[in-house]
């Protein structure tokens, strides 16, 4: 039996991960982490797959997936920019960094640009307080960011895609 009717191999990997937890229902959050890692975001079909494999009601899976901010139910952009809004970053001007990023990208935090190139997010504190304000670009923490620096990074991401179009 294939893991999923679509034949998508990622379902097979996910299924192996579920087996590692003996399909225990209390592993739901770990399974969702893996699912998001594999697929980038949690679409309904995927949530339903998880629900069936863990023998949980879909409402439980959806309730959990929407409770935790880390999970996203919509596709993310090719690049992600996470501005930390923890206290240390805040008192050192992260709000200005975020405002600059929002203005440059033309989206609000939590949104993805229409061309799916960039998702702009905020974090409650990534624990990089001594190097505040911190921004995470595609998973890499960058220290002591200024509006100019965030703009430069966004511009850098934009360039290669300009080149291809």
């Amino acid at each position: 039996m294939t893991a999923h009717a679509s034949g998508d191999k990622r379902f097979k990997i996910l299924e192996a991960h579920i087996k590692k937890f003996q399909a225990r229902q209390d592993a739901l959050i770990e399974v969702l982490h893996k699912a998001q890692e594999l697929f980038g975001y949690l679409e309904d079909d995927l949530l339903l797959f998880v629900a069936h494999r863990l023998k949980l009601p879909p409402s439980r899976v959806y309730g959990v997936a929407t409770f935790y901010h880390f999970f996203c139910l919509k596709p993310q952009g090719a690049h992600t920019c996470v501005v930390c809004l923890g206290t240390a970053c805040y008192v050192k001007g992260s709000a200005k960094v975020l405002a600059a990023a929002e203005a440059a990208a033309g989206i609000k935090s939590g949104e993805t640009t229409p061309d799916s190139q960039l998702s702009l997010l905020t974090a409650r504190c990534i624990g990089a307080c001594a190097i505040a304000p911190a921004v995470v670009y595609d998973g890499q923490v960058a220290a002591k960011q200024t509006p100019e620096m965030v703009l430069a990074q966004l511009e850098k991401w934009r360039e290669p895609c300009k080149a291809t179009t």
Binding site: A51, P58, R60, Y62, G63
Partner: protein
């Protein structure tokens, strides 16, 4: 089972040891206001209306989840408690869109009655006017999120009496809302058995029988108790 003797509002009360303060008070004819409590399902301790003062405890305790203890002294009515209850109700009235005048539950709504009981003649907080929808896809029932107070009674009856697990809370904080299955239209739910227990459980007009108009949504809550007694205690008690 050992009995405990305690004082509630100055009255000597005795109750079996695993009785909640709420039940012990009710037994003694003392009514403590509640919203999320529902006979037959486990308590969430979420609405905070049944908070009582217990001598020797600095914190206020929810009567619905606090067990009686020997020598306990409970106060269920005080100026402070009344003020807190009033404010809590005001917060609820301001949170979503409770337009009693055009609500199916007008006159049969626990939120409306409690507000009335607590002398709320206006709400001091900013009405939030959030935008919530109505799910009218189920052939027999409707869900109006505008009137929902997130007491989770519907969720608890769906899981623990019916066992279907159709309903749950999604999101969090003020953005929490009741869902069916994967947040899909109720009418499309595969797990819903259309048993209607959630509608019976709802304290406001959020869940209703389709076709009811203003003020028509009365519920017979004794049915839920009847089912729970039948299922758990194998006793079929028909209320007179």
């Amino acid at each position: 089972m050992a009995a405990k003797t305690l004082k509630i509002d100055g009255r000597q009360v005795s109750a079996a040891e695993d009785t909640t303060v709420l039940d012990a008070a009710a037994e003694a004819g003392i009514r403590i206001p509640t919203l999320c409590h529902l006979e037959g399902v486990y308590d969430a301790g979420a609405c905070r209306l049944c908070l009582v003062e217990v001598a020797g405890t600095a914190k206020l305790l929810p009567a619905c989840t606090t067990l009686v203890a020997e020598g306990m002294e409970v106060v269920t009515q005080s100026d402070r408690l009344r003020r807190y209850r009033r404010m809590t109700l005001e917060l609820l009235l301001a949170e979503r869109n409770h337009v009693c005048a055009v609500c199916v539950a007008n006159g049969h709504c626990e939120l409306q009655s409690l507000a009335s009981e607590h002398g709320i003649d206006h709400v001091r907080y900013d009405y939030r006017f959030p935008r919530w929808g109505v799910d009218a896809t189920h052939p027999r029932f409707g869900l109006d999120h505008n009137r929902c107070i997130l007491c989770t009674r519907c969720v608890r009856v769906c899981w623990h009496i019916e066992g279907a697990g159709t309903k749950n809370v999604a999101g969090r904080g003020a953005k929490s809302f009741i869902i069916d299955d994967l947040n899909q239209p109720w009418g499309d739910s595969e797990s819903c058995t259309s048993c209607g227990k959630c509608v019976l459980a709802c304290p406001t007009g959020a869940l209703f029988d389709r076709g009811s108009t203003v003020g028509e949504m009365e519920r017979d809550r004794t049915k839920l108790e009847f089912i729970v007694n039948a299922r758990e205690k194998k006793q079929w008690i028909v209320s007179e």
